[in-house]
Symmetry: C2
Subunit: 501 residues, 2 copies
């Protein structure tokens, strides 16, 4: 199908090479016409990861990117890349390839996509730089399917280089803005491929676990009529002739589903926060993994289900995504993630005692600052050897109005956060299911009752006791892998300063 | 734990009854204190669906809603409901229950949630009105866990009554706005429970199928910097000191993921359309099931994967959700959904010929109107006996700028829609992966190149040929079940006139 005569206007350089002289191999290389679904050839494309000694001496077709090319006399070595796999290919002047063909191959811009026909050959010496170490591909035909522009905005090899303290000269790395500005290329690195394949796994494990536990997936609206959770930090949307808002969480809708007898629900979806926070762990749009569940007598029934769900995710990742974890570790070394079964649950007052013993001065009803969270994480790790724990019974004063007070201690509440490597990944609570108490608490917080009428009314026709929580997906990915910025685990992150790509 | 002495300020009526006279059963009924997680009793609550003759003569605890209550002399019959299951319960004056207790039970407002201790008794005559027909519960203790207000905004029995032509007198039904205004109650009906449990199943089957096919789940941003798909029908968001927009589809991001070597991706998420359309099938916010996939040589490779995914969903629903389908059918009778394997694929010109034969006058490059889509659906059903088919090769003129033209016929394109019961549920195409052709087509459509720069630039560094499509979740649910309004399949629908609850 592809032919050496085919050409496209913009790609003069390879054409010049092709047209230069008489060439016995001229049908064997070139720029393919743009694939517009002209034909349905029965050619089978073999995956790079399947190029092993089992295929030795077979003639195969492969489609891959040109990761690097290096001409050397009458030979050209290419590294062909397909996601996280790569193989060495050799174009050498001989029966199949002419001088012009070798030159053509050597001049293909990096990141171009090529179709190659070649013979799989066992090599005597392992190809250390490739994942397919035992074979190389002896090229018989090479056609460019999609030509990359000659100058890449970043080099993939630089983008996976571990950062070391006191950078040595010549060891280029890529800064975060360059990565994010050119995300399509940055996402091609083995590290990015591993991060986002693992993130897909987190979502899958979350749902798999909950569906096995009898949960129902729900879809909640993101455009809402009132800034129901207090009103601060909410994005405004022009909605025909009125204003609307972007939901800061699906919580109110999850709770309505509980009042509507769905009993155990979950959802995965975007969550919007108009916070002008420029930190390593805040985004203005992130993905929430949300759970809400009716319980019988005690909210710990729910806490246990949520903690077990997270434990199942951690286990699943360690079982099914070991390759991805190791790939990320190569660039970002980190200790394996540790957790206990059952999950460690500490009460807020115990945490306060630990912090005070470590010299922190804090009031009983004061919230944890970020540095204190991290310090607590280190203290817990030392004492209990776990990177994951639950902090239960937060002071009522630092939680939202709908949080159920502790019946035994009016200054405490039936609420909890969960932490990974000392950073909060989930916030949750037993919710008030009694409309009268809910009204009282809303008034205490100075909330306009008119704005939360539909919410309070949901509880007027019989509501079971219930609890839940919301998990930040990007944080879980970041902290499980021991990364240091949530922008590394959001494909197209949004923060106060970034809206593109 | 619950006690007859417990009381809550707002519930005077039951208290009066309780306090009225000396009462040998007074510890056996009452209003429970609000469940604030005071204790962790080891009481086991049995599910209503598990109340069968296997449990005959056992004493059990059940938590359920009071669906109806009917006093009759010294007895009170209750129907207890738990999601789509219900059972009859009897409180009768005797050893366990006093006159006052029977009166208390008879006065519990419908939809209240109660904890009941009772003996499971086999009945001689089947209880026709309940799902648990072979047993009833003889009540020994009854405590209200959450009291509903006395006046319900709608009656659940009315809400599941089939609508018939020429309504008979006294056959109340509930109109759509009343349902949606009181969605928390409307969602409790057996029909709503079935609809949304099946919808959860659609999402699950979609992902299960695609993950088995090697797809990766991605998360795409909903807040975007430019109204990239033409600019019409887009919601504006205030983003700190600037404006941003809500994504009308994840398509551009899915394509970037393909350019970033993720090869086969899917996502499930909200999609926003600022269209002032007030029809049975338009929402301003709906859930998109999106697919994008690199292919080798022909976009039909992708069409086949998408069609097979839908077929796997239909099969899975018919296998795993037969109860839900039948429950919905009771209220909304409908023929079972039919489909072929492999899926029928018609070309646009064939469809035109069928329509013209049926008397429709249409130009070759004209788009299908909604009535013509439906007519075509009927013609296809008659001829091929399928409710699901693909319409391929749409006129280029009616498709978006990024649609790949057909290389053989410049008036056609490599694009397709998929239909269920004569209505469109998916729109898709091979996308242009060549930046030069993409630029030409954008200019032809009068699109400001500056606004789609990041998008076009994504293709400059090698892009594989690819195709995809977006499925509307609510439409699939509606059309699979033969419902008539997409608001029936959106939990909290959003349209130009509705933003609450």
């Amino acid at each position: 199908m592809p032919s050496a005569n085919a050409s496209r206007k913009s790609q003069e350089k390879p054409r010049e090479i092709m047209d230069a002289a008489e060439d016995y191999a001229k049908e064997r290389y070139g720029i393919s016409p743009m694939i517009q679904s002209q034909e349905k050839p029965d050619r089978i494309l073999v995956l790079v990861k399947d190029l092993t000694v089992q295929k030795a001496d077979e003639v195969v077709w492969v489609r891959a990117r040109v990761h690097t090319s290096r001409a050397k006399g009458k030979q050209c070595f290419l590294v062909l890349r397909q996601q996280q796999f790569n193989v060495q290919a050799l174009v050498a002047v001989g029966v199949h390839a002419s001088k012009q063909m070798v030159k053509f191959a050597a001049n293909i811009n990096k990141e171009s996509i090529v179709d190659i026909e070649g013979v799989v050959r066992k090599v005597n010496q392992k190809v250390g730089s490739c994942t397919q170490q035992d074979v190389e591909l002896h090229v018989q035909k090479i056609y460019v399917v999609s030509l990359a522009e000659p100058r890449l905005p970043l080099q993939l090899d630089d983008a996976i280089r571990p950062e070391v303290e006191g950078e040595e000269e010549g060891r280029a790395t890529v800064n975060q803005d360059t990565r994010l500005d050119n995300r399509v290329i940055d996402l091609r690195t083995s590290t990015s491929q591993a991060v986002f394949r693992l993130q897909s796994g987190i979502c899958h494990l979350f749902r798999e676990t909950l569906i096995n536990k009898g949960f129902v997936e729900i879809q909640t609206p993101k455009i809402i009529s009132a800034a129901s959770e207090g009103g601060a930090n909410v994005f405004t949307v022009s909605y025909f002739k009125n204003n609307a808002y972007l939901a800061q969480s699906p919580q109110l809708y999850k709770q309505m589903c509980i009042c509507a007898d769905f009993e155990k629900v979950f959802c995965i979806g975007p969550v919007f926060r108009a916070e002008d926070s420029n930190t390593h762990r805040h985004l203005t749009e992130f993905v929430g993994l949300d759970i809400e569940m009716a319980f019988n007598y005690h909210y710990h029934e729910v806490v246990e289900e949520i903690a077990d769900t997270l434990v199942q995710i951690f286990k699943g990742l360690q079982e099914r995504f070991q390759t991805e974890i190791q790939t990320v570790n190569k660039q970002f070394p980190c200790e394996p993630f540790k957790f206990l079964e059952p999950t460690l649950r500490l009460e807020y007052c115990e945490a306060l005692a630990m912090l005070r013993e470590a010299g922190v001065e804090m009031g009983d009803e004061e919230d944890l600052s970020t540095p204190n969270e991290k310090l607590l994480g280190r203290l817990v790790k030392e004492k209990y050897d776990t990177d994951f724990y639950i902090l239960d019974k937060y002071p009522l004063a630092v939680r939202p109005f709908y949080t159920m007070p502790d019946p035994r201690n009016p200054k405490q509440s039936n609420s909890y956060d969960m932490f990974m490597r000392g950073e909060e990944i989930l916030s949750g609570a037993q919710r008030i299911h009694d409309p009268q108490l809910l009204t009282e608490r809303a008034l205490h917080h100075g909330i306009d009752l008119e704005k939360i009428k539909a919410y309070i009314d949901s509880f007027r026709f019989g509501a079971p006791p219930h609890a839940g929580g919301g998990i930040g997906l990007e944080r879980v990915t970041m902290l499980f892998l021991g990364l240091h910025n949530v922008r590394q685990t959001s494909m197209f992150p949004r923060d106060p300063k970034r809206l593109t790509p």
